[in-house]
C-alpha cells in the first residue's frame, strides 16, 4: 500500500468535513432547526472515506439511512446536502427528500435509503449494469449490522456471488441495530463469515482506522474490477451519537462510548501520519479550519435558500398524478 501526499490530505479533508457536518447537525437538530429525522455518521468516517478513496464519479455507491458520510466521501456537494436536509429548493433533491433520500446520480451516489437492507439489491443492479456494458465500474454497497440480517441483503450477497458482480459489500457494524445490540441479533458470531457461506471472501476490518479500511477496500475493488467477484468487508465501528437525533441512548454504557472516542479515527489519522513523518501538523490544522468554514458557509447557503414552491410538489416523482 502506498499513499501520496494528495491522497492523504484528501482523506483527512473528507473525514473532517463529515465530522464537522454531523456535529453541526447535532447542534441544529437540538435547536429545532432540522425538519424530519437525521441519523448521524460521526465516529464512522474512516469507513466511508477509506472506501470512496478508491472510487471515481462513474463508480456507484448505495447507502443507508445514515448516509451523510457516504455522500460527502463520494463527492456530493456539501451546500446541496445541507439545503436538502433543511428542506430547501436548492437541495440536491430540490428539498423533497431530506436526510434519508439524498442522492446525486452524477456523482454515482444512488441514494441514501430509509429501508434497512434496501441498498444491496440496488448495488447488484448497478454492478450488473457495469458488467453488461463491459466497463470497469465498481459499486460499493454500505449497510449496517441491522441491515446484515435482512433477507434482501442475503439475497444480494448470493446473487452477487453467483454472477461475480463487481460489488464490494461494506457492513458498518456499529454494534447496535437501532437499540438492539449485535449480542442479541447476530445468530452466528460473524458477519464477515457469511461471505464464505455465500461464496466470497469476507474479512474483518478495523473501522476506526482509515488506513486499514483503505488498504482492504483497495484490494476488494481490485478484485471487483478484475472480474474476481464480490467481497464482504465487516468494518467494526461505533457511532458517537444515538441511532437518531433525540435518541436517549439507554442501551449502551458511557464507558463504552468513551472507549471508542479514545480510538477516534481523526485522532488516529493524525498520530499515524505524524509518527510516520508523512504530513505536518500545520497542514492538518489548516484542513480543520477549512472544514469549519465550509460547514458555516453551507448552513448560510441553506438558510438563505427558498423553500420549494408547493406547485412543484408532484414534479420529479415516478408516478404522474
Amino acid at each position: 500500500m502506498d499513499l501520496d501526499r494528495d491522497k492523504l490530505l484528501w482523506i483527512y479533508r473528507r473525514m473532517r468535513q463529515i465530522r464537522e457536518f454531523e456535529n453541526r447537525l447535532h447542534e441544529d437538530f437540538a435547536a429545532g432547526l432540522i425538519p424530519g429525522f437525521v441519523h448521524l455518521y460521526a465516529g464512522e468516517e474512516a469507513i466511508a472515506v477509506g472506501v470512496c478513496a478508491h472510487l471515481d464519479d462513474d463508480d456507484f455507491i448505495t447507502s443507508t439511512h445514515r448516509g451523510h458520510g457516504h455522500c460527502i466521501a463520494k463527492g456530493v456537494e456539501i451546500n446541496g446536502m445541507m439545503a436538502e436536509i433543511r428542506g430547501k429548493a436548492s437541495g440536491c433533491c430540490k428539498g423533497k427528500g431530506g436526510s434519508m433520500h439524498i442522492a446525486d446520480v452524477d456523482r454515482g451516489m444512488l441514494g441514501a435509503n430509509g429501508i434497512v437492507g434496501g441498498g444491496p439489491p440496488l448495488a447488484c443492479g448497478a454492478g450488473l449494469s457495469g458488467r453488461i456494458r463491459g466497463s470497469r465500474q465498481a459499486t460499493a454497497c454500505f449497510f449496517g449490522d441491522g441491515g446484515s440480517n435482512q433477507g434482501t441483503t442475503a439475497e444480494s450477497l448470493n446473487l452477487a456471488a453467483v454472477w461475480k458482480l463487481p460489488v464490494v459489500f461494506i457492513c458498518e457494524n456499529n454494534r447496535y441495530a437501532e437499540t438492539t445490540s449485535t449480542d442479541y441479533s447476530i445468530g452466528g458470531p460473524d458477519i464477515a463469515g457469511r461471505g464464505t457461506a455465500f461464496g466470497m471472501p469476507g474479512i474483518v476490518v478495523d473501522g476506526q482506522d482509515v488506513f486499514a479500511v483503505y488498504e482492504a477496500a483497495g484490494e476488494a475493488f481490485r478484485r471487483a474490477r478484475d472480474g474476481e467477484g464480490p467481497t464482504l468487508l465487516e468494518c467494526q465501528t461505533y457511532r458517537y451519537f444515538g441511532h437518531f437525533e433525540g435518541d436517549e441512548i439507554k442501551y449502551r454504557t458511557r464507558d463504552e462510548e468513551a472507549h471508542y472516542r479514545e480510538r477516534d479515527c481523526l485522532e488516529n489519522f493524525r498520530s499515524v501520519v505524524l509518527d510516520g513523518e508523512l504530513l505536518e501538523a500545520e497542514e492538518l490544522d489548516a484542513i480543520d479550519r477549512e472544514a469549519e468554514t465550509a460547514i458555516v458557509d453551507a448552513v448560510a447557503f441553506a438558510e438563505s435558500s427558498p423553500l420549494p414552491d408547493p406547485a412543484e410538489c408532484l414534479n420529479d416523482v415516478y408516478v404522474a398524478y
Binding site: M1, G188, P189, D190, G195, G202, E219
Partner: protein, 335 residues
C-alpha cells in the same frame, strides 16, 4: 486449586490475506466448537473438583456459544478484563491469568495472538491452538487433546520440564530499552503505515530478524527456514538483509504464496545478540503484523532472547501421561 485460562481471539483468521492470498476464513462458530472441545478435554482429564476455568471476554461471546447446553463439573468464569475488540484484550487477559496464578492458558489464535498473550503471561505454560493465518508458533493442536494436555499440566501429572519447553523471543529495543516483543519474526518494511497490518509482498521488506528458522512452517520465518543451517546444524536465530545482491530462496510466506526471495546477507544469531534496524523510514512488523512507525531518527534494535514463553507440547504431554498409566481406567484420581 488449578486455574486454567482460555483466550480465544475472535479476530484471528479474518484479515486481508483472505483477499490477497489463499487464506481460509476462520469463523467464530468454529472457535466456539474448539473451546467446547477444550472444555470437554479438561472435564475428562482434570481433577474436576479442584479445577477452575476462566475465559477472556470478547465480542463474539465464544464462551457462551461453547457452553451452550454443556454441563461441566467445574465453573467456567469470565475474566474481568477489557472487552474492546482489540489485540490488547488478549494481553490484559493473559496478565490477569498470570496474576491469578493460572497453571496453563489455552490460546486460540495465530502468531499475532500468541505474541499478545506472551506479553502478559510471564512463565505460565501456553497451550497453543492455531486459528490464525500464519501459525508458526502455535501448532495445529486439536481442541480436545489441547484441553487434556492443559489439564495434565495444570495438575502436574506429567513432568513439566519434559512436557513443556521454553521458546525464544525477540525483544524490540528503542534507545536500548525493551518496548515490545515478537515470538517469531521482526520485519522492517517500507510500507508507510500499519494499515491492514499483514505483509505478503516480500519486496517491501528490507530487514528480517527471526527467532527460529525451521523448514516446514508458513510465514516470513520460512525465508530463513529455506536456507541450509549454519555449520553444526543448529537452526537458531537469524538476521537477514532482504534484497538483490546475494542468494535467492523459494519460500512459502503465506497460504498459497510460494515466492522467490532475494537475500543479500545472512547472519546467524547467538542468544542475547542484537541487530540494529538500519532501514528507515517505514514500519516495523512484529510476527507478520505492521505495528509501529520507524522514524528517521529512531534508534531501534532487535535482541534474540532465549527466555521466551513456555509452550506445552501437546503430543509429548499425552505421550508422557500414557506412558505413566494416567489413562488406565479407572483414571487415577490426583491427590
Amino acid at each position: 486449586m488449578p486455574l486454567i485460562g482460555i483466550i480465544p481471539n475472535p479476530s484471528s483468521g479474518k484479515d486481508i490475506r483472505r483477499l490477497v492470498v489463499d487464506a481460509d476464513g476462520i469463523d467464530n462458530q468454529h472457535k466456539a466448537k474448539i473451546v467446547r472441545r477444550v472444555l470437554r478435554g479438561i472435564a475428562a482429564t482434570a481433577d474436576v473438583a479442584a479445577t477452575t476455568v476462566a475465559v477472556m471476554p470478547e465480542m463474539a461471546d465464544i464462551r457462551r456459544r461453547a457452553l451452550d447446553g454443556l454441563e461441566l463439573p467445574f465453573p467456567v468464569d469470565v475474566l474481568d478484563t477489557p472487552c474492546h475488540g482489540l489485540a490488547e484484550d488478549s494481553l490484559a487477559a493473559a496478565r490477569a491469568l498470570a496474576d491469578r496464578g493460572a497453571a496453563a492458558i489455552v490460546v486460540l489464535g495465530g502468531d499475532g495472538t500468541h505474541r499478545m498473550v506472551a506479553k502478559g503471561s510471564r512463565d505460565v505454560p501456553l497451550v497453543p491452538i492455531s486459528t490464525g493465518t500464519n501459525n508458526v508458533w502455535p501448532r495445529r493442536n486439536e481442541g480436545t487433546l489441547a484441553g487434556m494436555a492443559a489439564a495434565l499440566v495444570a495438575d502436574v501429572r506429567v513432568p513439566l520440564e519434559v512436557a513443556c519447553r521454553q521458546t525464544p523471543r525477540l525483544d524490540v529495543l528503542r534507545d536500548g530499552q525493551p518496548i515490545d516483543l515478537a515470538l517469531v519474526d521482526v520485519a522492517a518494511c517500507d510500507i508507510p503505515v500499519p494499515g491492514a497490518r499483514a505483509i505478503w509482498d516480500v519486496t517491501r521488506i528490507h530487514q528480517l530478524v527471526l527467532s527460529m528458522a525451521q523448514p516446514g512452517v508458513l510465514g516470513l520465518s520460512a525465508i530463513g527456514g529455506s536456507l541450509p543451517p549454519p555449520p553444526g546444524g543448529d537452526r537458531r536465530g537469524l538476521a537477514l538483509e532482504i534484497g538483490p545482491g546475494g542468494q535467492e530462496v523459494m519460500a512459502p510466506i503465506a497460504p498459497g504464496l510460494v515466492v522467490p526471495v532475494a537475500i543479500r546477507n545472512v547472519r546467524w544469531l547467538e542468544p542475547d545478540e542484537t541487530v540494529s534496524i538500519t532501514f528507515r523510514p517505514g514500519t516495523l512488523a512484529l510476527d507478520g503484523e505492521r505495528e509501529t512507525a520507524i522514524g528517521s531518527n529512531d534508534d531501534l534494535a532487535i535482541r534474540l532472547n532465549k527466555n521466551g514463553p513456555t509452550m506445552v507440547d501437546v503430543d509429548r504431554t499425552l505421550e508422557l501421561a500414557a506412558d505413566s498409566g494416567e489413562f488406565i481406567m479407572p483414571c487415577r484420581s490426583p491427590a
